[in-house]
Symmetry: C2
Subunit: 331 residues, 2 copies
């Protein structure tokens, strides 16, 4: 049973999930797609290798084109009670929550950016639907939607998929981000993310992609080389309130950004994370959902790991230049 432990200094919660250490890793030597014995649990025909389907979209002739399943090696599980415990100076709770996998396509060797925009829009709509469903459970205080792509980003399986983790508390950094935005709002009366959209549209040099509803930029204080954010132009604090007609434009800009990143960064690995308000909180004027994409360049990750101190050797202006010109970055 996973356990959630609180750091006594920071008040930061950490999930200790030993069972997850047992999960298969396609990138492990001998277990990869070349390994004869390897069977991908996400490929059509192998549905019995995953827990039962939670949600799916039909494909041609009785097949599926997208499936959502419970993670077989969950970071959190629905059984537990989430009651707080105290052990000396330490606090913990049961690892209550949900951990789902969105299998984005039946095609093992696809990447998100080469999928049709309509299929990526299916993924976006699925995120929204699952989030609306999951938030009905009042114990759920945050829903993290993310995608790890590539070995350097911590992905353990190659088949295109993303993950949804619903948890009984909001991560500290989420709360700090919202608090920072609330302070900005208090001082200036505007939403900091709305202001970033305006500022970047005017400055132009950090813009990577744009359509009627979304703007993609390399943020001013990028922590990581080629870090890219996708911001909705219209203010909206909750991702799950995405208007239906914005699923397609969001899919399109995600495809454009990932295409540009993979053109400039050979063998692209990245983490993509949806930043949104805690789903039980009401709509807020000071916070604005958005997507952060953090490419992971081999041999570049430094001591920022867990320190919160960042040195970035590619300015966001140079990164946007390279992405927009299709130039390759030499690691």
């Amino acid at each position: 049973m996973p356990e959630i432990r609180k750091d006594p200094v920071f008040g930061r919660w950490v999930i200790i999930a030993s069972e997850r250490g047992l999960r298969p890793n396609e990138f492990r030597p001998g277990a990869g797609p070349d390994g004869k014995s390897y069977v991908c649990p996400f490929c059509p025909g192998n549905e019995d290798l995953t827990p039962p389907t939670i949600y799916s979209l039909p494909g041609a002739a009785g097949s599926w084109r997208l499936r959502v399943v419970r993670n077989k090696y969950p970071a959190l599980t629905a059984e537990s009670a989430a009651g707080n415990r105290r052990d000396g100076i330490y606090d913990s709770m049961d690892g209550m929550g949900f951990h789902e996998v969105v299998i984005e396509t039946p095609e093992h060797d696809r990447v998100l950016e080469s999928m049709p925009a309509e299929s990526v829009a299916d993924v976006v709509r699925t995120f929204v639907l699952r989030m609306r469903e999951i938030k009905k459970d009042p114990r759920i205080k945050y829903v993290m939607i993310f995608k790890n792509h590539g070995r350097n980003a911590g992905a353990s399986l190659l088949h295109p998929h993303s993950q949804i983790i619903a948890m009984p508390m909001a991560p500290l950094r989420v709360l700090q981000e919202i608090e920072g935005a609330a302070e900005y709002h208090l001082e200036r009366g505007t939403c900091v993310f709305c202001d970033i959209v305006k500022e970047e549209q005017a400055f132009k040099r950090r813009v990577v992609a744009e359509n009627a509803d979304f703007l993609a930029v390399t943020p001013y204080a990028s922590r990581f080389s080629f870090e890219t954010w996708i911001l909705p132009k219209a203010h909206n604090s909750h991702f799950e309130d995405l208007p239906g007609e914005q699923a397609q434009p969001l899919a399109e800009i995600v495809k454009t950004v990932l295409s540009k990143l993979s053109a400039s960064l050979p063998d692209l690995s990245y983490n993509l994370i949806v930043h949104t308000m805690p789903p039980q909180d009401p709509a807020a004027g000071h916070y604005h959902w958005h997507i952060e994409i953090m490419p992971k360049l081999t041999h570049v990750a430094g001591f920022e790991w867990g320190t919160g101190f960042y040195i970035n050797t590619v300015s966001p202006e140079d990164a946007a230049d390279m992405l927009n010109s299709g130039k390759r970055y030499k690691v």
Copy 2:
């Protein structure tokens, strides 16, 4: 010239240092120790490949046994003024500061844990001396001492070295750590790190090493598998106030911890970071300097990168068990 930029949401500072992208990388294909053309700038005889020596300790027959030099590809430079600038909604300042490299031994192929304790104590004493010297500059608000070892930890050179970065502001996470400790102190009247020492000595199961002055533990809410902290038993907020007689015991426990980590973790990569009070601040009852060591397991780093949300698949109790029994961890 490096620039320090402030994230408008978090108030987090990021160093944008494009020149650092030009530094050599021994781990880059073709440029490694096997590459014929490669010359290690940290080896004896190649002193002209580094900026001039700032500090050194004599070795046998006119040689050196430890050298401190300015980083040739600095994250921050002394020339600049550190005046604040404002550009629309964004704030930045010149990248004023110092960036030094401690070359820990003349021997290219050594690792810290295989060096004599006396040589590691030289490194510890050098950290203390450099910090006392650097803090005389009133513009310096924080001094970060760290060591990246191994390719997965972001090290670019193999020759044993550590780094000292002195900067004109304290990183946000440092301030948050001190604030968290101050809150604990306010509530309970004790230092949270002193309490951790007592709690872990009583519980025993997370203790990895101990001597008269220091305790090494896998912390209760470990963010990373095999994360290990070294805590001084006596309360002291400032690392640079280390009593002279503690350099040797500190060196010994660092050696023990790294030996245990490298026995259990094949091809060990790690980041080692000294956490300490901002040097211009007076001695504090609520904060307690310590060292955090974060091993980097290949293929395991996940989406915690920059999200502040952590899933750890090895409990600290299991990690301590493996380290103490010398069992190998299978990634």
